[in-house]
Symmetry: C2
Subunit: 430 residues, 2 copies
């Protein structure tokens, strides 16, 4: 008769919750060091908020239903529409640039597949109100810093960066029409996932692009490194200007000490249509997993969504891939609470004294447990060891008579008598 949870949803037993909290702590710590403020929105939003941004196709991927008031609602699949709504509601009162972050749990109705989750937590960091490339660099540096904080280095994590304005200048120079350009971007985005022949056929079928031009479009995706990109841009109309933000962003990342992590790769354009400038992804160095994070500049989106015409850039970073990398790197935190002490009562009459000491030690911020029923010292010590507690503090009639306790180190087994007064003041708990 035992129920199961829904497929694609995770239970977080203490081990898993500890890893999640470890990632959340890194997210919050770095975001705050970068001067970002935390916000949050509701898990449930009007469906129209997502349709407005992504079109009606999105509906099939959402957890959506009609509520008892007849409203079409959806569980949030992403945070940006909520951010746009909240910024629009307070627009002028918020000092620009707005530097906000959030840690929402998001849901998508992914097709049932092994290991495919239908929910995840995602750090969202956004800078609103600043169009310049220092804002992009700031976000990329923060994303990298999170992986540093979690014990990963440039041999583990790569930041892949491009700029849609630069790619656009190069595509324009091939003579593509305004209608063909967005399709060219879609196919550049697929370079690493599909064969060249498939892509060339696709560019012909969907945009009427000749195979010669299609080859040239796809060749753009092979451009690597800032110098290679700037050299290619130098040869096309408006190219030098279009390359400036990327050049500035890379220089800023250098000054921010992040150049070891940075790869310029023009095949990175990100799938979503609304990106307008610098785009980036963090990947594990072996590209064995999905992206660690993705983001970019979306200057027109807030106006389209909420009526606030402000330039903006941001990224989303999920907890799942990050958790896998941290686990692989052996940097997973211990699951255990790690009690500072387990208090042991020798007799029933010692129990009130155990409780009193528990209160005093907890008030000092220590993690304290004791047996919730009378049982043998052996059983109490066994429970203490299982938590695990670092030490047992034993209180019996003899100890009480001398205002002392016996402190037993549960790793070494060594015991010492300690005065209660010194346990409360001066004793080294570390």
């Amino acid at each position: 008769m035992q129920s199961q949870g829904l497929p694609g949803f995770r239970d977080f037993y203490p081990d898993d919750a500890a890893l999640r909290n470890h990632i959340f702590a890194a997210w919050r710590d770095v975001a705050r060091r970068y001067g970002f403020q935390e916000y949050d929105g509701p898990p449930l939003e009007p469906l129209e908020l997502y349709v407005k941004k992504s079109g009606a196709e999105i509906v099939g991927q959402l957890y959506t239903f009609e509520d008892r008031g007849g409203r079409s609602v959806a569980f949030r699949p992403e945070m940006t529409p909520t951010l746009a709504r909240m910024v629009a509601a307070r627009g002028r009162a918020l000092k620009k640039p707005i530097r906000w972050f959030s840690l929402p749990q998001l849901m998508r109705y992914e097709r049932p597949q092994r290991g495919r989750l239908r929910e995840h937590f995602q750090l969202n960091m956004d800078i609103i109100g600043e169009p310049g490339p220092l804002a992009d660099a700031e976000l990329i540096a923060a994303a990298i810093d999170i992986t540093r904080k979690l014990g990963l280095g440039p041999a583990d994590v790569r930041a892949r960066i491009s700029d849609r304005r630069a790619v656009r200048a190069l595509v324009d120079a091939l003579g593509l029409s305004d209608a063909q350009v967005p399709i060219a971007f879609q196919y550049i985005d697929k370079i690493e996932r599909e064969s060249r022949a498939t892509l060339i056929d696709g560019l012909a079928d969907s945009a009427g692009i000749s195979s010669d031009t299609a080859e040239q479009v796809l060749d753009l995706g092979d451009i690597r490194g800032l110098e290679g990109a700037l050299a290619a841009l130098d040869e096309v109309p408006g190219g030098a200007e279009a390359g400036e933000p990327l050049r500035h962003c890379v220089a800023a990342l250098d000054a921010l000490g992040m150049s070891e992590y940075v790869d310029i790769e023009l095949c990175v354009v990100r799938g979503l249509a609304y990106y307008t400038g610098i785009v980036f992804e963090l990947f594990d160095a072996h590209k064995a997993l999905r992206a660690i994070c993705g983001g970019g500049r979306y200057d027109g989106l807030l106006a389209a969504l909420g009526g606030t015409d402000l330039p903006a850039a941001g990224f989303g970073m999920g907890d799942v891939v990050l958790g896998e990398l941290v686990t692989e790197a052996g940097a997973r935190p211990s699951a255990q609470v790690g009690l500072d002490a387990f208090l042991v009562a020798v007799t029933g009459e010692d129990v009130p004294h155990v409780l009193q000491l528990a209160r005093q030690l907890r008030d000092r911020g220590l993690r304290i447990e004791y047996a919730l029923k009378q049982q043998s010292i052996a059983k109490q010590l066994k429970l203490a060891a299982s938590r695990p507690a670092k030490r047992a503090v034993v209180i019996g009639p003899d100890e009480r008579a001398h205002s002392e306790v016996v402190v037993r180190d549960l790793e070494s087994g060594k015991e010492q008598r300690v005065a209660v007064d010194s346990l409360l003041q001066g004793y080294s708990w570390s």
Copy 2:
């Protein structure tokens, strides 16, 4: 064209998020000091999980729908069924007593009313596997300690405690049948919300209880204080035994230093049918608000829900009333990030040096921001003051020539020149 959020759901702007994090930090800190481990479950669960516990009537209060796989699902309205499911799945592997806590966001489709929310966050703390009253005392003490941690004292918060076993012994002595007892409990639960005449009529109508007996039932609700309760129990069959757990629990709370907070009030029976022993609520001392928390012992519930027959006790504490009390007490945290420093570049050539210093200071855990575009010193200082930053660190060509910076205290306006080396090492940031 601006969308609004759904009624009954909150947006957390940075001010509100700061208060929420303040409450979450108190929850986590106290739970860990008491040796509890954090867990979490999915926000979406099979509908049957809730129906199994609360009957079909619950469906009307849930956010429930059929997912694309044809499953009836619901957003979690409470955590206990998920806890029961998770414990059942790992039953034997978990060392007893299990001491777990969680901070889920819960949803209920409450009737639209002013100020009535449809979601809230709720600390859940449970002890599973221990039937004795020390477990109940431990939970009550933790709940009280959270309010202490948040700056509230016994003049602000009261813990109202009773025991269904004691009330049951008193009700039985009035000659009520097994069928009448649960109805008597329901009416005792309503004593503070409805008139005595209404309650007497209700007891007659719904359970056929005479008005004389009904008076006696309701009189039980007037019993206050441990001594009063024990005296009443002494006069009924099995009463002395039925009063033992409450007596032990109160003694333990005394040893735990919580007696100042404790009120024994037999009218507290809690509305839910599954409580089997000690029950308790925390209220603001003026009873101006809804309960801060409520809980009790539910020894039969896990078996009924998940097949694991373990005694259990726990409570839920929401974020809304607690937030109101903290705000009233003037103990609300500042909304602001509070930057340690805002770095100011005098000229464009100073920007890379600002970035480099930002990296170095952030690596030391400091909260640092700088302007994301070139602008006048006055504008940079204005932005710095608005965040607010404690100090501005000004870097210009002259400062760079001497490997120095000018540190300007933004409150006092005082300036001092500081060597960059000493800023990175030895400077007092507090």
